[in-house]
Amino acid sequence: MKKAPKDTRVVVGMSGGVDSSVAALLLKEQGYEVIGIFMKNWDDTDESGVCTATEDYNDVIRVCNQIGIPYYAVNFEKQYWEKVFTYFLDEYKAGRTPNPDVMCNKEIKFKAFLEHAMSLGADYLATGHYARVDHSGEEVKMLRGLDENKDQTYFLNQLQQSQLEKVLFPIGDIDKKRVREIAAEAGLATATKKDSTGICFIGERNFKEFLSGYLPAQPGLMTTMDGEVKGHHDGLMYYTIGQRHGLGIGGSGEPWFVVGKDLEKNVLYVEQGFHNDLLYSTSLIADQVSWISNQPKPQSFECTAKFRYRQQDNKVTVHLLEGGKVKVDFHEPVRAITPGQAAVFYNGEECLGGATIDQVFKDGTRLTYVG
């Protein structure tokens, strides 16, 4: 039996941004018993000595008082450090490009935080993600957010039935413009607040500077695949496949791009041209596979996939392998596949799940310079 909204307690994860503010407002208007909770995952102070989390929490307080809901905070710094930040550093050490947002959703927001919400007697956890959950069928489905440009299912690909059953995404069926309008109409304090950009714990700071505070950088040579020296790199971890900016290679002709790395030799490979052939691959192997549905999957099936956030859908054939791995064959070659990033699978509007990109192939040959 589904409970009436007024008997349904929903904890909203509030970041102090406009999306979660509107998520809480909409639930309150729908008659739910809403509780706003701010997660503190990172201890940080900006140049002027202001703790960014304190500023955000003050916005949560203002918005919750405007909506008329109680607000609290919870501290997951320890869990975030152990589960997300450690992974983040380990991946960089391994020469890969991690996706901490995927890990944060998997381990913190929809695990530790979900458990916290349940310990408060909540029926659901809601967040301001642009995604939809369909609770109507036997199994819960996750659908893309209606605002194609904002769809965040890519970051939510590791969620499972047991988590999604308890999740609501109140703004998944409206677009960002409408979210801002709703916030403005209600006079919410966060209506015109700037969206946060980049990785949450780095914020607006210089990425290189941040990372160098945690990992020793080893400068080395920057060469073409044939070994022609083109310059020096500041440390392999600062570069990702397909990257153009920050290489500092002058001269004429087409711009230069990162096509690969050799961790052992500490060499960064660069080649010319956005569409350089070396940037293209035809299949990959991914691990850490997680499917949203519990129903058994066929050994091979066709679907579409995204290999980075906001990428267009690529037609692929997925083959299940042993040990939680999949082989993904692309119907057309795809540019700049990057190990460490997520491969996320879709059937139309439905997000099927995802995996972490491990190895990259072209026509059956492993591209060892990529991963």
């Binding site: 509780i35 909770i37 701010f38 503190k40 201890d43 703790c51 989390a53 304190t54 955000d56 929490y57 949560v60 307080i61 109680p70 607000y71 609290y72 905070a73 919870v74 501290n75 916290h116 310990s119 408060l120 007697g121």
Partner: protein
């Protein structure tokens, strides 16, 4: 849902008679106490009456009371004011690791100003050892600041013994009595206290009001400069309505002290008995002996402070961790760290209940019942 307030160490509701006094003062007497006309004299009379009550409550003299904007200002004035006034006699200050932040952060400020500060450790009950104090004392020690009773765990420090120890030393003895005042009888003369901070809103008085007792003859460098109010130690027109209310709150709290002490001690025993009956696993942080009667700090293994407090609030029961918050999330208590070390489980599973004049036996029963249910749920029993 009837809400139950068990966070009186954070702040207390104003006593109805205090509200009446403040209202009356606001409507009848608006004069500036420094003015030479009848309006001013009427206000001065009110301020003087409150000053007399404040002095009498701790065995001090009329001239030894400085009204401030609260406990924090009193602590700041005592510590910074003494450090500056005595800097030619030395630059060493002694305090304890379990002080309120109004004292700790002020001492940290002094360190940045070039003073040397010793933070005395405490035992598992949160009490300093006199031998530690004796060996920390130096020739150039100018100030010792040790709180009377702890706001998080209630532990009372050996104030009279410290006063005795410092009697022959140049060091000025300050005690932050914000949490203890009104719960224990204090006599600054027999306990050899030189400076003592009190806050009004902890004793059912108005917020934004407090006093610093400063022994006659002591030099303090003032923080606020301007007029000659408070004998030049705290410039600014007096907050007369709040002073009037504070005076009333002092009178009320002095006559009811004995009765409150017994009542709150009974609440402590009632609450712990109830938890035992419900087979809730817990331990007391601090002890019941030599402790403030209205503060009890309990550790509940297998729970976490944030879930406990939010669940209690959702059930209408207001309690606290007693420690500071950053961005709303609870920081590990420096008091519990000093008592049990930084790795102790107690840092994550302890909460404070503190009693006040409106609490009843029925409320304690109800709160204990709700607490037991929440803990059973959180520990899956």
């Amino acid at each position: 849902m009837e809400r139950i307030y068990l966070d009186h160490a954070a702040t207390t509701p104003m006593h109805p008679e205090v509200i009446e006094t403040v209202m009356k003062q606001m409507s009848d007497t608006f004069g500036n106490p420094s003015s030479i006309h009848s309006f001013g004299r009427a206000s001065r009379q009110i301020v003087d009456a409150a000053r007399t009550s404040a002095a009498a409550s701790i065995g001090a003299d009329f001239n030894e009371i400085i009204f401030t904007s609260g406990g924090t200002e009193a602590d700041n004035l005592a510590i910074v004011g003494t450090a500056r006034a005595m800097k030619h006699r030395g630059r060493h200050v002694i305090t304890s690791a379990v002080e309120h932040h109004a004292v700790l952060h002020t001492c940290e400020y002094l360190e940045k100003e070039g003073y040397d500060v010793t933070y005395l450790p405490v035992d598992e009950e949160g009490r300093i050892r006199l031998s530690d104090l004796a060996s920390a004392l130096r020739e150039d020690t100018i100030l010792v600041s040790i709180m009377y009773g702890n706001n998080e765990i209630g532990t009372i420090q050996p104030i009279a013994e410290i006063g005795e120890l410092l009697k022959e030393h140049q060091a000025v003895f300050h005690t932050d009595a914000v949490q203890a005042y009104g719960m224990v009888s204090i006599d600054v003369k027999t306990e050899h206290i030189d400076l003592l901070s009190v806050s009004s809103h902890k004793i059912n008085g108005p917020k934004g009001m407090g006093f610093l007792y400063a022994k006659e003859g002591l030099t303090l460098t003032p923080a606020l400069l301007g007029g000659e109010q408070e004998r030049k130690r705290r410039a600014g027109t007096e907050n007369v309505p709040a002073i009037a209310g504070f005076g009333k709150a002092i009178e009320l709290s002095m006559v009811s002290m004995e009765e409150k002490r017994e009542r709150y001690l009974a609440f402590k025993e009632q609450l712990t008995r109830l938890l035992k009956e419900k087979q809730v696993e817990f331990s007391v942080n601090g002890s019941f002996e030599r402790s403030l009667p209205h503060v009890i700090n309990l550790s509940f293994p297998g729970t976490d402070v944030e879930s406990l407090l939010v669940n209690l609030d959702l059930a209408g029961i207001a309690a606290s961790s007693g420690s500071a918050c950053t961005a709303g999330s609870i920081e590990p208590s420096h008091v519990l760290v000093a008592m049990f070390g930084k790795d102790s489980e107690r840092l994550r599973n302890s909460i404070r209940f503190s009693f006040g004049i409106t609490n009843t036996k029925e409320q304690i029963d109800e709160a204990g019942e709700a607490l037991a249910n929440i803990i059973a749920r959180l520990t899956n029993k």
